[in-house]
Amino acid sequence: MIEVVGLGKRFGDTQVLTGIDAVFRKGRVNQIIGRSGSGKSVFAKCMVGLYKPEEGKVLFEGKSFHDMDADEKRQVRQRIGMLFQGSALFDSLTVLENVIFPLRMFGAMPKSEMEDRARECLKLVRIQEKDDLFPAQISGGMQKRVGIARAIVLEPQYLFCDEPNSGLDPQTAIVIDDLIKELTESLNTTTVVITHDMNSVMETGEHILFIHQGRKWWEGDREALLNTDNKELIEFVFAGSLMRQVKEAMSRRS
């Protein structure tokens, strides 16, 4: 479980996040939604320790991350898997070497076992046949899958996904969403997904947090999201024509 208490982040004179409280439980897909520039990626980067917040705390299983010493932080980070918006695969390593990388750095197993484990993860994300190619030789969707395989290879307790569907066609986006949901259930991870893709929210979002102007504006589940009367959230959620049609269909039914 990850708890966020009164999180605030500033860049110079610009206050990006203000007083955010949230609890992300394990075994479910927690989604952080909001417009571009609302502060959701900064929020995620504060949670994983890439940014140090000026106010508040991020607690991993009750322990404040930013109060930990370097070794404790490293231990927590080894339990975090992260899928980046641009996949962040290492260009000069093959697909298999990218997935093996965390095992080489922190695993204590023979090379053959590392390869078996990496291939197992690639199989899980259904991309095992591309293991000897370089990231530049595979598509964006495949890169995301390799990114997921690398994120889960050490069996993380916490899985962070930053805009997992950006730049993907709708079909591939659904595959990625399904993968994240499956892995959350099978590995029982605390999964946090940063997105502004409403299809993804409706597909996998079990606990949804809406960030607006750097503040937590709304929190709830999919059902509550569709019935919300929060003006800013309605503007965000029903901006697309598909979601407007869903809303109209719901009104007609009721």
């Binding site: 980070r77 975090i80 992260m82 962040a88 260009d91 750095m105």
Partner: protein
């Protein structure tokens, strides 16, 4: 950020860099790879420059001291001193700052803008140590060899050009390079080379590591890496010469 801020952040980066590597095996393997990339692959340009510069130094020295009062072996002496004391350690390091420094800044800068450094940090890998220390170990170990090869080829180029063009006899040139030879001058050149290798690697890595933005900013970081490395090398050259030779 002001210059004091940059200096402070540079030393904080060095502190991160000089921690114990996560895996010694991976560190040494990466160091050998970097020795090849940053050192061995610079051998061609170093050899070419050294031979030609040695040749030019010999011919220019002869044309400038063409006097019956000065013995002809002085040409060999001047070539040796120029090559060992200044050309090989300093000029070659300035050239390596252009080749190796831009390579380091561009590689690390690209990794930064593609979030690969963030990925390393989130995995719990000390990214500064993992990326910079092998490069630093490689350049500080391999550059002295490059400079020694440069010294040899510079003097050899001078001999060849001098003898072939008829400006000096082989015996006079050899006598010149043997006259008043102080082994400490080679030590001094090696000390300078190691310090310059440290400067090239760390200044360039600093520029790459703190790149923000996209490909344009990676280009800017590479340019800055070369310019700042050169400036710091020139300052360090003056300080080291003052401390070691006077």
């Amino acid at each position: 950020m002001g210059i004091i801020g940059h200096i402070g952040r540079y030393f904080l980066l060095l502190r991160e860099t000089f921690s114990r590597p996560e895996r010694a095996g991976i560190f040494w393997r990466r160091t050998v790879e970097e020795m090849d990339l940053l050192g061995v692959q610079s051998l061609g340009i170093v050899a070419l420059l050294s031979a030609f510069m040695g040749a030019v130094i010999t011919i220019q020295t002869k044309t400038n001291i063409d006097s019956p009062l000065i013995q002809s072996w002085v040409v060999g002496f001047a070539t040796r001193q120029s090559v060992i004391l200044e050309f090989s350690p300093t000029v070659i390091s300035l050239i390596l700052a252009g080749k190796v420094g831009s390579n380091i800044a561009a590689e690390i800068g690209s990794m930064r803008v593609k979030e690969q450094i963030d990925a390393l940090d989130i995995m719990g890998v000390n990214s500064a140590n993992y990326l910079i220390l092998p490069k630093l170990a490689a350049t500080t170990m391999i550059n002295p060899f490059l400079v020694m090869i440069s010294m040899f080829l510079g003097i050899f180029g001078g001999w060849l050009a001098g003898v072939q063009s008829g400006v000096i006899s082989s015996d006079d040139f050899v006598m010149g390079i043997q006259t008043g030879f102080k082994p400490f001058h080679v030590t001094y050149a090696i000390i300078k080379t190691v310090v310059f290798a440290f400067i090239i690697t760390t200044v360039s890595a600093y520029q790459g590591y703190y790149t923000r933005g996209g490909t344009r900013e990676v280009g800017i970081s590479s340019t800055r890496a070369v310019v700042y490395s050169n400036v710091v090398i020139l300052l360090a050259n003056l300080v080291l010469t003052r401390v070691l030779l006077l």
